[in-house]
């Protein structure tokens, strides 16, 4: 059974660590993700949130005056863990650029996202964009019914 955990953070640098910590803690609840892979996911979540925060910092504030936020939706299933990060506007352009990046940091970011999760897909949403990150759990740690939780 999938369990869904949602978290909304202000699009500010000091909250990236909160997103990382929350996703890392959630990823460790079910078996099937080694500690190293959870570490990898923490890096990619950090990269995605940072990309969005940096892009949003260069865009005009929302018309309603509210500070922009990032919405993280973690879908914790028996076979996969998905983290969907939704942000307004074209917030993930530096993580998924249309052309080759020029800045070192953007190149590093793209390399890390590509290398450290099993799948990374950018989707358009009505209000902006959603980056969907997927990790597949180790099949040996997940039983056939997906009933891998104690109790």
């Amino acid at each position: 059974m999938d369990r869904v955990v949602e978290l909304e953070i202000p699009a500010r640098p000091e909250f990236v660590g909160v997103a990382r910590m929350a996703v890392g803690a959630l990823a460790g609840i079910r078996p099937g993700l080694a500690y190293e892979r959870i570490d990898d996911l923490r890096i990619v979540v950090s990269e995605a949130c940072t990309s969005a925060i940096e892009m949003l910092a260069h865009q005009p504030p929302p018309a309603d005056g509210r500070p922009a936020g990032l919405r993280l939706r973690c879908i914790d299933g028996p076979k996969t863990l998905e983290v969907r990060i939704e942000a307004p506007g074209s917030a993930f352009d530096s993580a998924f650029p249309a052309s080759e990046p020029e800045a070192d940091v953007d190149t590093f970011r793209i390399s890390l996202i590509r290398a450290l999760v099993d799948d990374a897909e950018l989707r358009t949403t009505p209000g902006g964009a959603e980056l969907c990150l997927t990790l597949h759990r180790d099949a040996a740690a997940v039983d056939v019914d997906g009933d891998d939780l104690p109790g």
Binding site: P13, V16, G17, I43, T50, V105, L112
Partner: protein, 114 residues
Amino acid sequence: MDLGLDVTERDGYTVLAVRGEVDVYTAPRFRERLIELVSEGKHRIVIDLEGVDFLDSTGLGVLVGGLKRVRSHDGDLALVCTQRRILKVLEITGLTKVFTIHESVDAAVGDGQG
């Protein structure tokens, strides 16, 4: 989130020991400290990453920026790192070919004397 930045002098090198998590929030302090050191004339720098719990592309950008700065003064910047999680980030981004990476500060300051 706390970031530790401790500077010591060792055998003609300036050793900057970094502790904690280096990300978009803490990286500006790290960058500023490196810029200060270079502007103080410290052009042989060793950055000790053994106390770093987390490093992402923002931190890598600081390291590369520091390397460019010291090289513009004919200096050098080496890293100390044995942590697998940090080495993995350096390997994926190709930076193990850019930086000299040592297993200890002793090795880093000794290497340059040979």
